[in-house]
């Protein structure tokens, strides 16, 4: 009963957040200076063509009418047409979003597993050389932007010691599998083409690692701090006194409460990757939604901007929802007392 109530409450809240976000971004995109129709057609296009496009985009209407027209379209699954690619924005999103999604899933796995593992080991052996090493790497990881990691990895694994592919989504000699999900790895598996799968997967590794470095470092630091704190709690002493093996104490009794802050950080970082992937996608020439979104902003491609922001917003909402569920699972005090 209680959990159903919780879920309905969160869903209603999510809808509210998304509507709010859409209004905000819709207005901001139109308020910033620059004439989108002129930018789309170029400086030498005749004035009548620009006027036609303005009319077509309803840019001459009051802004609330524009929003209403846009909202009507969205409810029918139509995000309008991109001024740059001249295709429906929804078609563009369908093409670019899965690519980034695939990248982020791999990055998220690296970040979660790596961050928690390094943090936990670092806390367990705090003061050792391993701990110092992890702390140093984590510190570097936090302060170094993802695109710098991208360039470093590219140099190391593509040039000095070329063991991993550094450009694109798949080896150019291979046939691209037919699009079903848009996720190259899944599609190649569906097509039964294991060589394509291997190539697609290897293409993901470096950009995903570059993307994950910052969040992984942050997660490792948070996990380490939180575990160190919990390790000094009295209950660890009483569990040790009861003869429960240290391994079990760490992996069960200390890890679980320690993961609560980590989960929150990791999930928000994963959602933020959608937007932050831009430079990494650029460096690895990876056709993702982040690149698409930034290009849309540079060219003031109104419909594309709003659509990309909405996708990112949706990702945040979904991740927040997942965080709430995981934290409620980890912490009975939240689950049973209604989040107070």
């Amino acid at each position: 009963m209680k959990s159903r109530h919780f879920i309905i409450h969160r869903l209603a809240w999510s809808v509210f957040v998304l509507v709010g976000l859409s209004i905000l971004i819709f207005f901001i995109a139109r308020v910033i200076p620059g004439d989108p129709a002129r930018m789309a057609l170029g400086p030498r296009a005749p004035q009548w063509a620009v006027d036609n496009l303005v009319k077509e985009l309803h840019l001459n209407e009051p802004i609330y009418v524009q929003y209403w027209l846009w909202l009507k379209g969205v409810l029918h699954g139509d995000f309008g047409t991109s001024l740059v690619t001249r295709r429906p924005v929804s078609a563009d999103i369908k093409e670019f979003f899965p690519a980034t999604l695939e990248l982020i899933v791999v990055a998220a796995i690296i970040e979660t597993v790596g961050g928690i593992l390094l943090g936990a080991l670092s806390a367990r052996y705090s003061g050792s050389w391993f701990d110092s090493l992890v702390r140093l790497i984590a510190y570097l990881g936090v302060v170094t932007p993802a695109f710098v990691w991208a360039i470093i990895f590219m140099l190391i694994f593509g040039y000095v010691w070329p063991i991993l592919p550094i450009l694109g989504r798949i080896d150019s000699n291979l046939t691209v599998p037919p699009t079903v999900t848009g996720l190259m790895t899944i599609d190649s598996l569906l097509a039964g083409d294991f060589e394509a799968f291997k190539s697609a997967f290897l293409h993901l590794l470096l950009p995903a690692l570059a993307l994950a470095m910052g969040g992984m470092s942050q997660a490792a630091r948070i996990t380490r701090a939180s575990m160190s704190e919990n390790l000094s709690r009295d209950y660890v002493g009483s569990e040790m006194a009861a003869g429960i093996p240290m391994k079990l104490i760490i992996l069960k009794y200390v890890l679980r409460p320690s993961l609560i802050p980590t989960v929150t950080i990791i999930a928000l970082d994963i959602a933020a990757m959608l937007g932050n992937a831009f430079l990494v996608e650029l460096v690895f020439n990876y056709p993702g939604i982040s690149r698409y979104g930034i290009n849309a902003m540079l060219t003031k491609d109104l419909n594309a901007i709003v659509a990309v922001i909405m996708v990112i917003g949706l990702a945040f909402v979904v991740m927040n929802f997942i965080v709430d569920l995981i934290v409620a699972y980890l912490d009975p005090r939240i689950r049973l007392q209604g989040g107070k």
């Binding site: 705090s126 000094s232 709690r233 009295d234 209950y235 002493g237 009483s238 569990e239 040790m240 006194a241 009861a242 003869g243 429960i244 093996p245 240290m246 079990l248 069960k252 009794y253 679980r256 409460p257 980890l330 912490d331 009975p332 005090r333 049973l336 007392q337």
Partner: protein, 324 residues
């Protein structure tokens, strides 16, 4: 065992590395428990009682160091034990009741989960789930817990302080075999339940022949429960005698002060506290650590540590007022 005592602590020193120096908390503790004996350890909070007990199980915090001393349990030196031997000691031979039950229970696991793991690793039962569950339920019921099955499904924050304390006691009692260390077991309990719990501990100790170390502030509880009492002040044992002797003929000025701090039922005279407070362990007083608070302090108390010597049959004291 060939040794007469089950536990023998000799000249134990425990220091804590902290910012700003080293806290010299334990400064040569001598402590002995015989088979089946009930020993009390009294002293004000912060005097090192819990630290002494934690050293026996080697569960001191990481910043603790033991520069000197011996802890012999059943003829084996605890301080040099390997991990595996320690594991046998903890839970299987020695159980401990911690003083703060709220902190001693893990907040994110159910009582059942915690008590079952405790029983599982105590080596007292076959490791099948049903047996363990039944032992756990029986242990809770023994501690006057209503509806143990429901309690098992609860989390610590759903119980009252007194119930949490009884859960901790149930865990320790269910698994105690050779030595039970009870660190202020009744501090958080109602007087009525306090009596029940003390009776429970007493019964168990008598039935199983378990030795008991009872740490307490309450001299009344100590008098009721123990055969022999150690009085501790600022990291040293200052006096040891049979319970009767401590109450009838206290030697050490600190012990006398403690006894005078008990309000008298007859209402005769005012109760007298001990002026001053425990010393700073970063920079403890020279000589006898009690001398700044002692009415009978002599010049030599400032310079030398008084030896812990027997002044009467089985009555030991560390004070220059008494010489052999």
């Amino acid at each position: 065992m060939s040794t007469p005592s089950i536990l023998n602590i000799q000249d134990l020193h425990v220091w804590f590395r902290v910012y700003g120096g080293v806290m010299k908390v334990l400064d040569g503790v001598d402590f002995e428990v015989n088979h089946g004996e009930k020993v009390g350890l009294v002293g004000e909070s912060g005097c090192g009682k819990t630290t002494t007990m934690k050293s026996i199980l080697r569960i001191l915090p990481r910043q603790a160091i033991i520069p000197k001393g011996k802890i012999i349990f059943q003829g084996h030196e605890v301080l040099t034990m390997k991990w595996r031997e320690l594991q046998e000691l903890r839970g299987q031979k020695i159980s401990m009741i911690f003083q703060d039950p709220t902190a001693a229970l893990n907040p994110v696991f159910t009582i059942g989960e915690q008590i079952k793991d405790t029983i599982k690793y105590s080596g007292i039962a076959e490791k099948d789930t049903e047996t363990i569950k039944n032992i756990a339920i029986k242990a809770l019921r023994d501690c006057a817990m209503p509806d143990p099955e429901r309690i098992m499904k609860n989390y610590p924050f759903q119980l009252s302080g007194g119930m949490r304390q009884r859960v901790c006691i149930a865990m320790a009692l269910a698994t105690a075999s050779n030595l039970l260390i009870a660190d202020e077991p009744t501090t958080n309990l109602d007087v009525t339940i306090q009596d029940q719990v003390l009776n429970l501990i007493r019964t168990l100790v008598q039935e199983k022949g378990t030795s008991l170390i009872l740490i307490t502030h309450s001299l009344g509880v100590a008098r009721e429960m123990t055969d022999r009492i150690y009085v501790m002040y600022a990291g040293r044992i200052v006096e040891m005698a049979s319970t009767q002797e401590i109450f009838e003929k206290p030697y050490h000025p600190y012990t006398r002060g403690l006894l005078n701090s008990i309000p008298k039922l007859t209402g005769e005279g005012m109760m007298v506290g001990i002026p001053g407070h425990l010393p700073n362990y970063l920079n403890p007083p020279s000589g006898c650590r009690f001398h700044p608070r002692c009415d009978d302090a002599m010049p030599e108390c400032r310079i030398k540590k008084p030896p812990f010597i027997e002044v009467n049959n089985g009555h030991k004291v560390a004070c220059f007022l008494y010489k052999g």
